[in-house]
Amino acid sequence: MSVLEIVDLHAVVATDGGELPVVRGISLSIDAGEIVGLVGESGSGKSFTALSVLGLLPDGARVSGGRILVDGEDLLSLRAAERRTRRGGTVAMIYQDPMTALNPLMTVGAQIAEGLRAHGVDGAEAKKRTLAAIEEVGLPRPERIARSYPHRLSGGQRQRVVIASALALRPKVLIADEPTTALDVTIQQQILALVDELRVAHDLAVLWITHDLGVVARIANRVAVMYAGRIAEAAPTRSLFAAPQHPYSAALLASIPSPTDTVRGPLPQIGGAPPDLTALPPGCPFEPRCAQREPGCAATEPDPVHRGDADTACFVPRERWTTAEEAG
């Protein structure tokens, strides 16, 4: 059963030159206990998608169409006050920089308790659940951590505190926007293991945004690859890495050096740059950079179709692709 279901989501941001389509029709669903990795080039709309779900888009940006269902309830049709109780309550988010998510002038215990109180958990109960939440993310001596100010903690400890705070209300959906990018690899490893543990323990539905395909390979059950505001391909992780159905996913994977190569040739590169959102071409947005393009690709934009295990927004099935050498 999908806990989070995004249906044909559109979001725009106002600029001097009019409204820019940043998210252009995204559909994605996440089951309970599932981690979906969301990857894609910088500016492809990953954060906008996440912020749309939380109703936290920046000023000037708005959702311009579609539905966001959590347990069948459309968040976009809720009134502002109801929306707020869902935020944190049923949908929680963790960010890249844990420092920005924490108030430097409050002890971390007070901050976690404040979040609980905003959702009606008070007094001794709030205190108890705060300590339990800190303990759950593997921080030693919860009482001492609760009394600490954020700057006293290391980057990894801070991110654990943010996770504790996000999960204290037992949300059903956790959205993570590059939460380990700023951390050391050994600390990242600890956080990834922690989130995986919590996912299993609480049947969490997780949307994990990252640039790092290695992180996706480690923790995601499914992957969605974004390109120019759309999902180019969504597939189970193993299928996507083994046989990508979209030329962009294929090119992205090919450009990463293999950890087992013994002969190190040139890396296949994609070349070109993503399209300018102010002047999107009428056809497939990847067409100018695509090694598999066919004459029809520039005329109309492909809609997602089911191929193999994947949903891919591409006209040309894998069998018709030219050889891998030319794919780069």
């Binding site: 300018d276 002047a279 950079r289």
Partner: protein, 298 residues
């Protein structure tokens, strides 16, 4: 084989090259609404001040026996004062005097303070410590009091007034210049210059200075408006421009005795001060917007 060049070259370049460079700074200020209003206001004042130089209208010192404290009329557009002098001519001359003191004082403060700030920030060490201590000392005095004391010590005259105001504002420019220099000095492109063997003076003048000029420019506009207020204040207290020379501050001071009946003696000089201060602040706003890296980097 390995010899071949990555073919990315042409493809990586965005298709439509944006205009190389930015519109010029004056244009960007005028494109800003505040900046535009400020420039118009100050431009008008400057024209009036210039007109006073060539005595286009009346002589500001001439006493017209016919009408003392006469209201605005065809002969005296803004009326006359207690000695029958033409207020329009005196306001124009007063604006000139104010702007002259403001420009000279701020120019001195900018050059001396800016230079000290940039050098001490860039060089660090003992120079920085000494300059820092000196500015702290100057900052410890209330600004107006310091200016008063300096004028009292230096004697009257517009240039001495300008010097006094300059001394008061120099530490502000030291700080305004030093902060960004510290940031730019540690920036990667200055580091890159050091690794590439650029001399210190090249780094200072070619790389650091152009990148700290923005906050200094904004400060100049704001300091000009304070300087006009301070000059008016000093004259009001009898320490700036000496009678019978026209000065906005002095005119306001004199009008105290007459203004319930002769409102024009207060209104017009006061208005001139307000317009100058507001105009310069608006230019400061416009400059800040025009120089904001977020709009520059777009």
């Amino acid at each position: 084989m390995t010899q071949e060049m990555p073919p990315a070259a042409a493809a990586v370049v965005p298709a439509a090259p944006r205009t190389a460079g930015q519109p010029s700074l004056p244009r960007r200020i005028l494109a800003d609404r505040n900046g535009l209003i400020g420039v118009v206001l100050i431009g008008a004042l400057a024209l009036i001040a210039l007109a006073s130089l060539v005595h286009l209208g009346q002589d500001p010192l001439a006493q017209h026996q016919s009408g003392q404290l006469a209201g605005p009329s065809g002969a005296h557009w803004l009326g006359t004062d207690q000695f029958g002098r033409d207020i329009a001519a005196r306001v124009a001359a007063g604006i000139f005097a104010s702007l002259r003191v403001a420009l000279v004082s701020v120019a001195l403060a900018t050059v001396i303070g800016g230079l000290l700030g940039v050098l001490s920030g860039f060089a660090g060490g003992i120079l920085d410590a000494v300059v820092g201590r000196l500015t702290d000392v100057l900052f410890a005095f209330p600004a107006t009091l310091l200016a008063l004391a300096l004028v009292a010590a230096l004697g009257h005259g517009w240039f001495n007034t300008a010097v006094a105001i300059a001394v008061v504002y120099t530490p502000i420019f030291v700080r305004v210049a030093r902060g960004p220099v510290l940031t730019v000095r540690e920036s990667e492109y200055v580091r890159a210059g050091r690794v590439l063997g650029f001399s210190r003076s090249r780094l200072l003048f070619r790389h650091v200075l152009p990148n700290v000029s923005a906050p200094i420019a904004v400060q100049v506009a704001l300091a000009l408006s304070w300087a006009i207020l301070t000059e008016a204040g000093l004259s009001f207290l009898g320490l700036g421009t000496q009678p019978p020379n026209p000065s906005l501050g002095l005119m306001v001071a004199d009008s105290r005795n007459f203004f319930p009946d002769a409102w024009w003696t207060l209104l017009f000089p006061a208005l001139a001060v307000v317009v100058a201060v507001v105009g310069l602040n608006l230019i400061g706003d416009g400059l800040r917007n025009a120089l904001d890296p977020r709009t520059v980097r777009r």
